[in-house]
């Protein structure tokens, strides 16, 4: 039987498969009742309508069962609201390596600022980039393009 925290933390995001839910900052707590062995995992969604949540819950239960913790419950909390500031440094590096520009620090006041300064191209590193679409392939991303190497890329919106 292995550490339940480690097992839950190893679950990858089903839509951005290069990053774990721990690195993404949506894994909030893993608690094990020493008497019963029951594990309670607490997660929070990136966006309220994120359609990946059901898969994430199922993947956590599967990972815990494989690690010897068949009695597991996954709880979802909404407060405090997720922020891209919770993405770890390792997570940011993995996003960039996968061609997804990581977010800038989240704007103050909890709202998204339309102008994102100097999003660097994850392929060539150029700051000469432009937004193509304010929304992208998932709720948390926008579509950008590099003016230097001409490659389009996803950008995880600061939230």
């Amino acid at each position: 039987m292995s550490d339940p925290r480690e097992a839950a933390a190893s679950v990858v995001d089903p839509e951005i498969r290069v990053i774990t839910i721990d690195e993404l900052g949506i894994l909030r707590a893993v608690e094990e009742d020493p008497a019963s062995g029951r594990v309670v995992v607490t997660i929070t969604p990136t966006y309220t309508g994120c359609p990946a949540m059901d898969v994430i819950r199922a993947d956590i239960r599967r990972a815990l069962a494989a690690a010897g913790h068949p009695d597991a419950e996954v709880r979802t909390v909404y407060s405090p609201a997720w922020s891209t500031d919770w993405i770890t440094e390792a997570g940011r590096a993995k996003l960039a390596a996968a061609g997804i520009a990581p977010p800038a620090p989240a704007p103050r006041g909890g709202t998204v600022v339309p102008l994102t300064l100097a999003v660097r191209c994850p392929r060539c590193g150029s700051p000469e980039t432009e937004q193509v679409s304010r929304f992208g392939s998932t709720a948390c991303k926008a579509l950008w393009r590099c003016r230097s190497c001409r490659e389009p890329f996803d950008h995880l919106k600061a939230l």
Binding site: T48, G49, S79
Partner: protein, 241 residues
């Protein structure tokens, strides 16, 4: 309205019906990027609707979950404002409607984030970030359309004339609610006026203020929308993916 259940149901229904309307644009939007944008905004609205209707069901205490509330109520039991049920019309109508809705939802969710009810506060804190992005998106489009070509200006002004009477209903006073909608009006006015000024659009005059949505008296448009939204669940109760 009177109290947390009616209030939560009303703002949950606003989000649900807005989500369903916006989703109609999927694969029909004027360009690919906008198709994705409208689908994403619909998804955010649906996310907020699920949280609010789940909580409304708990407040009611009659055993109704989000699905029972979304799929098994008839039009007279829905409490959404009339604005969100109106047809999408052309792209100008859709964007002006989204501007009015988001300019209301941002101060609404912001006020909720600071209210005494912990569940509503958590939902508000989460949803306001998403609504701020919707407001930003709609504002950019309304400015672009209003200050665009003669035709885009004409259509956007017409959309504004058509929809403006319906915004009054959003601010009907309800001192017993967790957030009194009447307190949100100044914020809405400031936001919308600034966008209209920059867009070169004229704020409509006139006092016609259709209402009734919060009491379950809707336009006929809602019935058609519900028929499409509910048919699968009613034909196959408990159906799952």
């Amino acid at each position: 309205m009177n109290g947390p259940f009616d209030f939560t149901l009303a703002i949950g229904d606003d989000a649900l019906i807005a989500a369903q309307r916006l989703a109609e644009w999927t694969s029909h939007a004027p360009e690919m990027e906008e198709d994705i944008a409208l689908a994403n905004i619909a998804l955010d609205q649906l996310g907020a609707a699920r949280l609010l209707l789940t909580y409304a069901g708990e407040l009611e205490g009659a055993g109704r979950d989000e699905d029972a509330l979304a799929y098994l109520r008839d039009d007279r039991e829905f409490r959404n404002c009339l604005l969100v049920e109106l047809p999408n019309g052309d792209f100008a109508v859709t964007m002006v409607k989204l501007l009015l809705l988001a300019a209301y939802q941002v101060p609404l969710y912001t006020a909720l984030a600071g209210c005494a009810d912990e569940r509503l506060a958590a939902i508000g804190a989460k949803a306001r970030k998403e609504s701020a992005y919707h407001l930003d998106h709609a504002s950019l489009w309304v400015k672009r359309l209003g200050d665009g070509t003669e035709e885009s200006h004409r259509r956007t002004q017409a959309a504004l004339e058509q929809l403006w009477p319906y915004h009054h209903e959003l601010f009907t006073a309800d001192p017993a609610a967790p957030v009194d909608p009447a307190t949100l009006r100044a914020d809405f006015d400031a936001t919308v006026s600034a966008v209209l000024d920059e867009a070169g659009l004229t704020r409509p005059e006139g006092g016609w203020a259709p209402a009734g949505g919060r009491e379950g008296v809707h336009t006929e448009e809602l019935s058609y929308l519900l028929a499409e939204m509910q048919v699968l669940h009613r034909a196959h109760p408990g159906a799952r993916w």
